[in-house]
């Protein structure tokens, strides 16, 4: 064991179950206040539990201390730069948390009669309108719970659309740069994935695409700008090719932060778009959820949207409009989940849209693109420029991809080593080893809410790491040193998984 442990490293991980002691407790419950009967008189004994689950026994002060201490073992966006590519780690406004917590939102039951939930339905309708305008596609369903859920929804809509025209199509095209959720959603939706190659400019390889476009193609899934952070200039031609054979065009909106108020997927020819409200629209990521993945679609896809759909009805008697949940949608693919979706996320994202407005959204995207190109330019200088070249040399949109191939060859440092060393410098590393077609990839997305000073500090840190590696590559290879734990054995966690705490009586 190294002698120079940091205080946090000295504090070994102890779970809340290991802090439990019989006889301790936090909760005091109200008295039942009704005549009580033996439980066996209410529920047959053979359906009852013999022993309570072994939850921890611990008093409130120690619960608070336990989770506060645990929280310090996390790096978070509020503490530092988090340039995780394709994740859009932008600031999470606290105003949004406040309005989401208003009792009228937070304590509203999802089965409340629509006439007594008019504020919530109007908010959803307004959000639908805003997202539809941002995407250039008029019909929006807020129901999908996340981006991957939106993808599945889009593919099921595609299936319903073709089935309604009496067609059975089997294949879905996706570029080799696509997010992993794209092919996974394709399989779940009962389609087969056909991969499309990438050209030397980082866009779709048109010859490969032409060769693969047949009348068996149900859909093309595309991210634009793609995961290389590049806008595909051939998008109009791509859309025309797919539409000629009757397929649908699906837009993975994970990268929408590059184009809000600048360019719209609907105008590019897409039929179906999902938006990640936890990316472009500032819902906090929560350590891996919650998010929301609404979809916006064209007229021809609208009849198949999930149900229920939030609708506005004009008054018959000269009063104001009212809002309702429409269930009577005979061609709908049906529900994707319970109730109406992640409403708490809708409140935050609508607050964000109200705060920025049309001008602010366009400015956010512009600044995101400016920040990305500036950081790209900074990293094209000095050692980074030599050891970590840009994968595709052109202006990027909101993110860019570097290749650590020369760094690995010349210094013996893998992209993973650089990422781990960045932890010691107080930065969250970029996305690593994605997209797959770039060797030793580093995918960097700074977002619009970062200062020039943060971008400079990050570029300086990379330069320093590369400098120190020239004299001693072992420093980075053994990194990190200062984090609560050092490199972890991930193979063991998969070969011999321990996924819960063993507990005695």
């Amino acid at each position: 064991m190294p002698a120079s442990e940091t205080p946090m490293q000295r504090e070994r991980a102890k779970t809340i179950y290991e802090k439990s002691k019989p006889g301790r407790r936090a909760a005091v419950l109200p008295d039942a206040g009704v005549p009580e009967r033996p439980l066996e008189d209410l529920i047959p004994a053979n359906l009852l539990r013999s022993e309570p689950p072994r939850l921890p026994e611990i008093a409130e002060p120690e619960i608070v201390r336990h989770y506060n201490r645990l929280s310090r073992r996390n790096f978070d966006l509020d503490s530092g730069f988090y340039p995780l590519g394709s994740c859009t780690m932008k600031h999470n406004p606290r105003l949004n948390e406040r309005v989401a917590a208003l009792p009228g939102h937070a304590r509203l039951h999802p089965a409340q009669d629509p006439q007594r939930a008019q504020g919530a339905l109007e908010l959803m309708w307004l959000l639908q309108q805003s997202l539809g305008e941002i995407c250039g596609l008029p019909h929006v369903s807020l129901q999908p719970s996340a981006g991957s859920h939106g993808e599945l929804a889009g593919l099921l809509l595609t299936r319903a659309y073709h089935a309604d025209r009496g067609e059975q199509r089997t294949k879905v095209l996706a570029p080799d740069t696509s997010h992993g959720t794209n092919p996974a959603s394709v399989t779940m939706a009962g389609y087969e994935v056909v991969k499309v190659a990438t050209n030397e400019r980082g866009g779709v390889e048109m010859d490969d695409l032409r060769a693969k476009v047949t009348d068996e193609i149900a859909c093309l899934m595309l991210t634009n700008p793609n995961t290389l952070g590049l806008f595909d200039e051939n998008i109009a031609e791509i859309a025309a090719l797919i539409h000629e054979v009757g397929g649908t065009l699906y837009y993975d909106g994970a990268n929408l932060n590059a184009v809000m108020g600048q360019s719209r997927p609907g105008d590019m020819g897409f039929d179906i778009v999902h938006l990640n409200l936890h990316k472009s629209f500032s819902q906090p990521h929560g350590g891996g959820g919650p998010g929301a993945g609404p979809i916006a679609v064209s007229d021809r896809i609208e009849p198949y949207l999930p149900r229920p759909q939030v609708v506005r009805r004009e008054s018959d008697n000269g009063g104001g409009p009212s809002f309702d949940l429409e269930f009577d949608r005979p061609k709908s693919i049906g529900r994707l989940r319970g109730f109406q979706g992640n409403f708490g996320v809708f409140v935050r994202s609508y607050a964000y849209i109200l705060s920025l407005g049309a001008d602010g959204l366009a400015e956010a995207s512009e600044t995101a693109v400016l920040n990305a190109n500036y950081l790209k330019a900074r990293l094209a200088e000095g050692r980074a420029g030599e050891r970590l070249p840009i994968a595709f040399e052109r202006h990027c949109m909101h993110e860019f991809v570097l290749s650590g191939k020369p760094m690995k060859k010349e210094l013996g440092l893998a992209t993973l080593d650089l990422a781990k060393r960045l932890l010691d410098y107080g930065f969250h590393p970029p996305t690593v080893y994605f997209p797959l077609l770039v060797d030793e990839a580093l995918m960097v997305e700074p977002t619009e809410t970062e200062t020039k000073e943060s971008l400079d500090a990050f570029a300086d840190a990379i330069e320093q790491i590369l400098t120190e590696a020239e004299s001693d590559p072992e420093i980075a290879k053994q990194a990190p040193y200062t984090t609560p734990v050092r490199r972890l054995d991930e193979v063991r966690a998969t070969r011999r998984p321990v996924v819960r705490q063993p507990l005695g009586d």
Binding site: L55, S355, A362, P484
Partner: protein, 472 residues
Amino acid sequence: MTRYTSATPDDRAEMLEAIGVESAADLFEQIPEPLRLGRPLAIPDGLSETEVFDRLAALAARNADAEKQVCFVGAGMYDHYVPAIVDAITSRSEFLTPYTPYQPEISQGGLQVMFEFQTAMSELTGLPVSNAGLYEGPSSVASAGYLAMGATKRRRFVVSRGVHPHSRETLATYSQGYRAEIVEVGLEGGLTDAAALAAAVDGETAAVILQSPNFLGAVEDVEALGAAAKEHGALLVVATDPMTLGILKPPGECGADIALGEGQPLGNRLDFGGPSFGFFCATEEQIRRMPGRIAGETEDIDGRRGFVLALQTREQHIRREKATNNICTAQALNALGAMVHLAWLGRHGFRELGELLAQRTAYARERLAAVDGVELLHEAPVVREFAVRLEAPVAAVLDRCAEGGIAAGYPLGHEYPEHENGLLVAITERRSREQIDELAEVLGTAIAEISSSRGSFSTKDVQKEPQAGGVA
């Protein structure tokens, strides 16, 4: 309106110079000109913080939330008290603002929470393996169907009509994609028809899907019903309400291969339906087919205990089209809320809460059954929710109750046409005896008034005998 950005005109000028372009607009030239929007979005310009707050507060004020109406509505989401420490901990930046823990060295807090949560859900359900959470309840049922197809190489689900209608509908939606057939088995006396279930299960059945307590609140004999699944090699999937597992025999002890459900009752607010989380537990045998994130224990290079995302080779970011599921989200913050709530309740508090729900529900059931114009829809045992039949149109009754400040329950007629005037009534620890008494009174008055205005009279003009509330 510029918001949350920092670039000053000087910053911009320096940055543009470093990039080597004249203006930011030059960077957008990679978008072909006809595809550039060239006009402002048709969305109003940005507002100040106070204006945004007022706008949203005005919308919120138009909702009849559980502070304005006493809430007896359940149907999968419940008005439980969320302890103050849940808000305090889930609002910490360190939990609120990070991404999925792809860099475990700086994510030990979140990963350990997942591990503790998995342990808690495993304890609740009596199954050894839990994931770190899925989107929510009904889509978890659809994910269980997908797992069962992979495990059995079969394509048919036998599903009880007692399973939440949203779950059944979501399963049907997903089945259009993964192409599975669904056979529904009806209810008798509030419980799954055991004979019909046994007859429906065969060698082509991938999974038998039950819910207990079921949608009508009735506690099913899962073990007895599950025998048909075991006999034919189908997986037994049990959806459940986590708040009942302090007192009910856990699904794992009843032969379930998968236990799952809506997690909202644990430490999550109503939020008009989300975000919440789904929990998903299974036998060891299914560990490599599980959907979603799973945290696992390991060690660092110096031998310190630590946690990582385990079994990632199941997942979409590694396996792409061969992944066991497309999900990428764990609802980590919602699962943290659940974990803190469960730690706060503790081993004994959790059981006591289950007992409290059962006692108050028994009282409420008996109290309502004694009201003129109200009958029990079934007499099967219940824990925290029960169904009644009203002798007046349920929509009109609910309107009257709402005027009296009470959200009296969930109307069943839309999803169970056979129970046109059925009402599902839910109890939480927030619903006091006085509120239950008030519900009985308001409900009785509403039914009486509607019946008399319709010129009909209750069939029960004789004072009813008190009925036993759910005694089996």
